[in-house]
Symmetry: C2
Subunit: 302 residues, 2 copies
């Protein structure tokens, strides 16, 4: 089924203890789209400058990412520069150049307006809300955010959360937004804002799926060769939403499987800089890693 | 089957964001024994001073903890004072008074020498080794340690690790001892020291069981009312070893179930100061929580 994503496309310059890469392709919508494209067709709404390589757009198009909603504007593409220490769960931003992203006003093309699944990647919560005003009765809407909006546009963010079905955010953001250190209490406060489900990303420790009467803990797969965690959260969201859109099963079990597929895709992503590892995956790679997650978490019931 | 534990008994004064308690009963061997006593009879080797309450020893004896190996010496019992911030995974030690624990030389009584299961709680690694010289061919030996010994008695610790089957330690200690940030690589370095299995305690995130060709991730149960994490690791070890000793199943599946029972016991322990919550558990409470863990981690295989 149709999956729409709105977010950023960028050049990332990243340094980790395991290497560095300048001007690699990045951006939340890019990571999301590539990841989700392994499960379903994707519709992309984003903006790039004149410097974004045509070859990369061709790669996305070949992976069945519909670029009708991509604006190419005068100027340069959004650039982010960051660094990670051995704690790969925390990025230190060194520089941000918004460039053409500065006055991004997402416009959903007519051909995308009946999208059934919508993911609002991390952008200004007012823009996230404006996207929802443009789409007609989607079946499922999920969104991400970041500390910048929690601190700078809290009211707008809470309003957007009131319009979505699922919020997918980091553990630290859950605690910050709720003003509560206990993750279960903090999560309940977010659910009170409107969403029916909350996916709490815990970095290398996996993810929680929290609903009113149910908690699911997806394990984090210990990875021997981590190179770069950039984009792991967006890749997770791509696997999660891509799987849901491909199956249409929004039951508790369906959502749990989707969280594991999100974790599977993120586990591939951290094995390389940019989304190099996601360029050449095969369907059987994804299934094999899902089975690894199953084995990792398996223990007998009483 | 018979389970021997050697470790500390103490008075703890603890402050957490959720309250404080002075001179509560604590100590690694105490927490371990109470926890393990829900699964099997326990044999305790430890030392207390004249100030340790007789009523507490009676409580332990009623829970089928054999106190033949408990020395009561002139002087005061070991005292620890610590504090936790909102990061409940990290204790800040404010004061340590070793008292009678200072010259503790564990003596295993004759009636304990044929114990089949042995747990060496966190004490000087040379003393841990001396215990193993006193017991006859146990079926399974596990041990714990802490950063103090990693930093101060590394060679002795590595020697002790070479004599045990299972090491049960914190994630941070695994990284520190191995000098390696990647948890999988660090764990392999510990396995090269001799043990066949490593249990990596991850605080609220659960625990990993790492063997040569297998990794298991036990989830951490999100707990709404955490009061005091003191003793959680020893309580975990008590459930883990107690279950193994009660069943005698050392297969991969048996070890995985034991890790979950360890997690179950630790999840009860953090709900109160000292081991208050462990005083009044019923068998069905433990089984019900094991089922909660099963539900928490369950997702369908492909």
């Amino acid at each position: 089924m149709s999956l729409l994503v709105v977010g950023s496309m960028a050049f990332d310059s990243v340094k980790t203890p395991f290497g560095e890469r300048d001007n690699a392709i990045g951006g939340s919508a890019t990571y999301f789209s590539v990841s989700a494209s392994y499960f379903t067709d994707v519709r992309l709404v984003a903006v790039v400058g004149q410097d974004f390589p045509e070859s990369e757009l061709n790669f996305l198009a070949e992976r069945s990412v519909d670029l009708t909603g991509l604006e190419r504007k005068e100027g340069e593409t959004f650039r982010w520069k960051g660094e990670y220490g051995f704690d790969l769960n925390t990025a230190h931003t060194l520089d941000t150049q918004l460039n053409v992203f500065l006055d991004f006003q997402p416009r959903v093309p007519d051909s995308f307006k009946e999208s059934e699944y919508v993911f609002l990647a991390n952008i200004d919560p007012e823009l996230q809300a404006s996207v929802l005003e443009q789409v007609k009765s989607p079946r499922l809407v999920a969104c991400d955010t970041m500390n910048f909006w929690i601190e700078g546009k809290r009211d707008e963010l809470v309003k957007t959360f009131g319009m979505v079905d699922i919020v997918v955010i980091n553990e630290g953001e859950v605690r910050e937004l709720a003003g509560e250190s206990n993750i279960l209490k903090a999560s309940r406060k977010i659910l009170e804002m409107g969403p029916k489900s909350l996916v709490v990303k815990q970095g290398e420790y996996g993810a929680l799926l929290i609903q009113n009467n149910s908690v699911f803990s997806a394990p984090g797969l210990p990875i021997e060769d981590i190179h770069d965690p950039t984009g792991a959260g967006d890749t997770f969201a791509g696997g999660f939403m891509g799987y849901l859109a491909s199956k249409g099963d929004l039951s508790r079990d369906g959502l749990r499987r989707a969280v594991v597929f999100g974790s599977v895709m993120a586990s591939f992503n951290v094995e390389s800089f940019s989304y190099d590892r996601l360029r050449t995956l095969a369907g059987e790679d994804i299934e094999a890693r899902y089975r690894e997650f199953s084995d990792l978490a398996h223990f007998e019931r009483l």
